[in-house]
Each structure stands twice: as structure tokens, then as C-alpha cells.
Amino acid sequence: MRRRAGSLLWVLLCVAVLLLLALPGRTSATTAVPQQGDTTLGDVTVVVEPMSSSVVLGDDLALQITVANGGAAATDPMVLHLDILDRNNEGSVDPEDWTSTLTRPIAEIPAGGSTNVSWTVQPISAGTFIAYAVVVKPSGTGLTASNLAEVMVEDRRSLNPGNILPLAIGAPLVVGGALALQLGLGRRSGRDGRRTVGVEGSTGGSST
């Protein structure tokens, strides 16, 4: 009898554990909330083109961003945001260095329609970067991210930018040379003066 009661207790414990595991947790409940009411954003796609591009440091690069609405209803006004990542350093760069505007408003897009945005950026350092864009609804919490567009920036080095090199080297050389000459002459005349004084002193000494 005692053995049957123990088995029953074990069965009850296992059922209780299974029931606890089967209950929905708080985390899954909270993650489900933002998706409510964001169904329109779910039909929005963002594409950044060209998918891969190469540019020389200092030159402009025009990114074409297409925001399309694949849903059955028009979208609300949205905000398009551009971001840049440095792939080589596995860190982020400051996108404000690349472009003066980081966000742009997107007006309502009708069902099946799309909006094209041309975004000119100017890389400030060489390397391989990733550009991507996201759209968000100001009123909602969801977002749609674009593909990752690769931007390869080739370094450009010039030893004589703006033909300044001859002046940048020549001006200090001329002034420094004049200073060195002056200091040298001053030292020499000082030595000569001391020598003259010495000669005169010895002459005077012998005469007396």
C-alpha cells in the first residue's frame, strides 16, 4: 500500500512539473505584445543598392534605398534610418561622419507601392563597410531592416595635396635657414670679439 502511494506521488510530481513547463512564461508574453498592431510594417521591405560597391576615399557614393509596401493597405508615415558598420574592426563607425542626415521621413506608401530614396554618403576612412537601412513607424515599436550592402573604400594618399607641399617645406626651411645663419653669424662674431679682446688684452699686458 505504501509502495503504491509512493508511485502515485511520483506520478503527481511529474505531472506538476510538466504542467509548469507547459505554462507560457512572462518573456514570451511580453515579446508578443509589440507585434500587435504592427502588421503593416511587416509587409514593408527595404532594399539598399548597390549590394556591393567600391569607392575611392573622399569620393561620393550614392546609395539607392527602396522602401516597398507589399501589404493590402497603405502604410503609415515612417522614418528611414541609415547606419554604417566597419566590418574590419568589428565595430561601428559614426554614420554622421559619412552623411549629414541620418534619418529621413517616408510618406505613406499605398498598397503595392514603393518609394525610392537616394542617399549620398562620403566615406571618411578606407576599409570594408556595411551599410544598411531600417524603417520604423514613429508610433510603433517594430522595424524592418534592409539587406546588408557592402561598401569597399579604397585609400587615396597624396603627398602633395593641393600643391601645398613645396610651400609647407619651403617656408620653414627659408625662415629656419635664416635663423640658423643669424645664430651662426652671431656666435662667430661673438667668438671673433672674444678673440680680439684676448689679443688686445695680451698685447696690452706685454706693453706694460
Binding site: 573622399g58 561620393d60 593641393g162 607641399l165 617656408a171 629656419g176 643669424q182 645664430l183
Partner: protein, 273 residues
Amino acid sequence: MTAAVPEARRTGLAGNTRPTVGWPVVARHEIGQLWSDGKGLSILFGFTLLLSILGYLASADAGINLLDARESVGLIVTVSIALGTLGAMVVSADAISGERERDTLEALLVTPVPRRHIVVGKLLAATTVWVATLLVALPFAVVMAGGPGVTRDAVTVLLVSGSLSAAALTALGLAISSLAWSNRTSLAISLAVLLALAAPSQLPAVRSSTTLGPILIKLNPVSASLRLAENVLVRQEPWADQIAFVISPAVAAVVFTLVAIRLARRLELGGSR
């Protein structure tokens, strides 16, 4: 300056009971001494070296479009005004107190040259530091401008704004030097005054203020000069709108020069104190 004494005698100034026009003699000697003993060239060399490094870096940035040509020229012109003014002020701050400290002021004061002529001569000599920095800065501005319009603006800003600012602060440095009993004190006060005048225009709170900020900048001769350079060269504002930024440097140049000349009457040896 002791070398001015024999020349004053040679030119007939000594023994003449009536005060004679002696400022050309003083100016000639001061200029000769400034540029022959290595002091002037040392200041100019430091300025030229710094301007070369800055000019190269700014041109490199402009070469990869990080800076606009006007921005790079604006930087060079602003730095030239600030450093040229500083150099002239340092020389003028040493003019009287340095003589006093080296015990050569007495020999200078016994010459029949009126004291205000001594001050005027020293003022003109210190101003040559600004003229020299201007001569060094002009080629940089011309090469970096890359166009006749920017070149004209840069040269005009340097000539008008820079010269007025330099004249004002050179006279102020000389006035401080007349009052200070040690060279160290004179230099310290002059540099502190220059810093106090230049700093407000760089403070974000003053720059962003729409009420008090513009007034403070216009009243201050140094910040007015620097702002004029920025307005004309970087923001491309018309010259007609810049009158307010010329008034305070011009007034300061006249007032400080008069103060320096006025203080010349009270020149004392300082040994008794």
C-alpha cells in the same frame, strides 16, 4: 635698446634741449635688434612651422573632401591672426619691462627723445612681428584658396581684421609692459588677457547664445576678428554685414595705442620699488 643711445647722440639728439622727433631712430634700432638677435626670427620660425603643419593637414583633408577649401583657408587665416597677434603681443609685452629688468631703461630715458616717441618706436617695432607673420601667412592662404574669390577674401580678412587685432593687442601689451615692474609679470598678464579675450568666442555657450553671445563677440576685439574671418571665409557672408565685427578691433587699436602713449609719461625705472 642701449644701442639707441649712441645713435641718438650721433644724430644730434643728445645735448639738444628741445624734444626732437626720435621715434624713427627708436623704431629703427628696435626693429634692427628684434630681427638681428634671433628673437624675431625664432618667433617667426615657430609660427611658420606650425602653419606649415596645419596647412598640410588641412590640405590633405580638403584633398579627400573632408574639408571645404573655404574651411581650410578659414582655419589657416584664423590661426594666423591668433598666432601673429600673440607673437606681436609677446614682443611688445617685453618692450618696457624687459628694459627695466635688464637695467637698460635708465640709459634710454636719459636720451632727449620724448618718452612717447620711445613708446611709439617700440610699438612700431613690435608690429613688424605681425607684418612678418602676415607675409608668411599670405602664400598659404593663396595656395590653399584655390580660387580668386576665396583668395581675395582671405587676403582682405588678414589685412583688415588681423592687422586691427594685432595693432590693438600690441598696444595693450606695451601698456601692460609700461606698468609691470617685472618682465615675467608683464608677459603673464598679457597672455592671460589674450586668453581671456580669445576664449569666449570658442565657448559653445557663447556661440550658441542668441542674445548675449553676439554682443559679447562683437564687443571683444579678438573674438570679433576671429568671427569675421569665419563669417566671410566659411559662411560666405557678405562684407557689408561685417561692419559690426570691425568696429571693436578698430576702436581697441586706437584706444590701446593712446593708453600706451599716455602711460609713456609715467615711465619709471622701477628700481626704487
